[in-house]
């Protein structure tokens, strides 16, 4: 059973990736789970300078979902490159560096810094964070800005380049096409959906930052639809994410057109989820006689076999 995946040059042993923002830089995760079950890990969104993040409360549970507004809390690129990555590299799992910035110039500078690190297997450009005032999601809401951002990074980063898209747009395929045109080797989708919750007793928004990003099983149908649309509109591989918490969920994304999947919120509730998903995919494929995972990528695209006659 071959679970290997090639994401525009980024080679994975299995298709399950730790989604950025729910894995930190691995230090806490290893106390609860086994990194070896990930095909790759995407580190917490990193910015040029350290960020303290948003004021609490930062999370709020919603029906089958989770709202968060962490606000890209991270120690800054310098610390990540000099301390976090060398440590994380010991586990021999490909590291995807997720980067976020407030301008094209800053994206370019960040990409240049990560290009100097020997530990980065791929760069994931976050043009979809809903929780920061400057930049963030703005870069991913227009094809032009997404193109410029991707191009700025592409010019300094020669390795596999992934662009992470937001679902908070009218037409995600136009944004996806712009990223690919500018040189993206793969696309991650989706980031969280902007949402909010209100405490009726205090008559105030629950989150300190008022709005936050919705994740978890609640957003799975939206994510699946985005993967379905984008994977058929572009020629590069897609990493599907959004509410995946079982092998069945992952298989749905793969059949919708994802070459690999990422788990985020699922990791928060079950640190051992990558093992569960990977072994579940393996068992499914074995039972169905599927020799390699890539055989079923986009498997749901094909025309349904409709009966020619109805009784």
């Amino acid at each position: 059973m071959n679970l290997c995946v090639d994401l525009g040059g980024l080679k994975l042993r299995n298709p399950v990736i730790a989604a950025s923002g729910t894995f930190g830089y691995g230090e806490d995760y290893i106390k609860a789970g086994d990194i070896g079950w990930f095909g790759a890990v995407s580190i917490k969104g990193t910015t040029l300078r350290p960020r303290a993040g948003n004021p609490p409360p930062r999370t709020c549970e919603t029906p089958s979902g989770l709202l968060n507004s962490i606000g890209l809390e991270n120690p800054g690129a310098e610390v990540v490159i000099s301390e976090k990555l060398p440590w994380l590299a010991q586990f021999d799992v490909p590291i995807i560096a997720n980067i976020s910035a407030e301008s094209y110039e800053e994206f370019s500078e960040l990409a240049g810094m990560f290009a100097q690190s020997s530990h980065v297997a791929a760069l994931e450009v976050n043009v979809s964070c809903p929780n920061v005032k400057a930049g963030g999601i703005a870069f991913g809401t227009s094809p032009e800005m997404c193109y410029e951002t991707t191009r700025a990074v592409r010019q300094v980063w020669k390795g596999p380049l992934i662009v992470k898209l937001t679902p908070n747009v009218a037409d995600i395929t136009s944004i996806a096409k712009a990223a690919v045109e500018a040189g993206a080797d793969a696309l991650s989708l989706i980031n969280t959906l902007v949402g909010m919750a209100i405490d009726i007793h205090t008559m105030r928004p629950v989150l300190g930052n008022v709005t936050g990003g919705l994740s978890g099983p609640a957003i799975k149908p939206v994510a699946l639809r985005c993967v379905w649309q984008v994977s058929q509109a572009v020629s590069v591989p897609v990493i599907g994410m959004g509410g995946i918490s079982s092998a069945e969920d992952a298989l749905e994304f793969i059949m919708a057109g994802a070459s690999a999947v990422a788990v985020g919120t699922g990791l928060l509730t079950n640190p051992e989820i990558p093992r569960k998903i990977t072994t579940g995919i393996q068992e499914f494929c074995q039972a169905k006689g599927i020799p390699a995972l890539k055989e079923i990528v986009g498997g749901a695209w094909r025309q349904a076999d409709l009966p020619s006659h109805r009784p």
């Binding site: 729910t22 609860a32 004021p55 609490p56 709020c60």
Partner: protein
């Protein structure tokens, strides 16, 4: 390579007892956790296989019994998660991740002049194992406990006998009528000038109570440790959701789950500047 310090076990529920009102106590068999846990550590409990409610619920351990492998959790029904737990039947299993957070090592505190525990509501729960250890070590222990009413009180178990115990309820249905913070302060103000020793204080309860305790301890020059309660998503450090500002934001935000839940009160900002 396994670097796991935490275990995620299928704990069997031994009992679920309604102590009074909305207060429940559950005992479950989780030897791997009971044998590792220190006082003031917590666990994150999955409520079932449903995605709604989605997240686990964090609870400090109110009882740690390495011998029998039993851990105890005392909780008040405040929402859907605790409602589900109140309906658990003996024999049922629940996924329990732990032990989480930094526990408290009493050896690291100066207890020459005694130990004072101040608890509000279910904030007493994590202090019960601390009290057990302190009593065993024959530390001079005083406990101040406040709750809304007699109906909201946790089981104080052996505390009554082994230490000086002060009880207050908002409505006066048990103990002194009023706030535990006032009882605590009047105790301190009643001390003679000859009492120069400074006991260490450990407090757990709602934020407004902790703020007040912090003010009082500052006034009397008492070292204060607080254990924070916070809503959490993961409980093990990866989501960065359960944060508290460091004092003066000098060190940004601390995560309550992995940097705490036990802090020196001086290291964190309990919101005293804004209230």
């Amino acid at each position: 390579m396994s670097l796991r310090e935490l275990v995620d076990v299928d704990a069997r529920i031994v009992s679920v007892e309604n102590l009074r009102g909305k207060v429940y106590k559950t005992a479950m068999i989780a030897p791997e956790i009971a044998q590792r846990a220190k006082p003031m550590q917590f666990v994150n409990i999955a409520l079932g296989n449903s995605t709604d409610p989605l997240l686990r619920r964090p609870f400090s351990l109110s009882g740690i019994h390495p011998g029998s492998g039993i851990i105890e959790i005392t909780f008040a029904v405040v929402g859907r998660g605790t409602q589900i737990m109140a309906g658990w039947q003996p024999g049922q299993q629940a996924k329990v991740l732990g032990p989480l957070g930094n526990g408290l090592d009493l050896g690291g505190l100066c207890l020459d002049h005694g130990l004072i525990l101040v608890a509000g509501g279910t904030g007493l729960a994590p202090l019960l194992p601390v009290a057990s250890v302190a009593l065993e070590a024959q530390v001079d222990l005083k406990v101040f406990y406040g709750a809304r009413s007699a109906d909201d009180l946790l089981d104080t178990g052996e505390l009554g006998a082994g230490c000086q115990f002060y009880l207050a309820t908002d409505d006066g249905s048990a103990g002194t009528k009023g706030l535990v913070t006032d009882v605590f302060e009047s105790y301190l103000s009643g001390l003679g000038t000859g009492d120069t020793g400074r006991p260490t204080v450990i407090a757990c309860g709602p934020k407004p109570m902790l703020r007040q305790i912090k003010r009082i301890c500052k006034r009397y020059g008492l070292p204060l440790v607080v254990s924070l309660e916070e809503r959490m998503a993961c409980g093990y450090g990866v989501c960065q959701g359960c944060v508290v500002p460091s004092a003066g934001m000098k060190h940004g935000y601390y995560r309550v789950c992995t940097d705490g839940p036990v802090f020196w009160a001086d290291d964190i900002d309990l919101g005293e500047c804004t209230t």
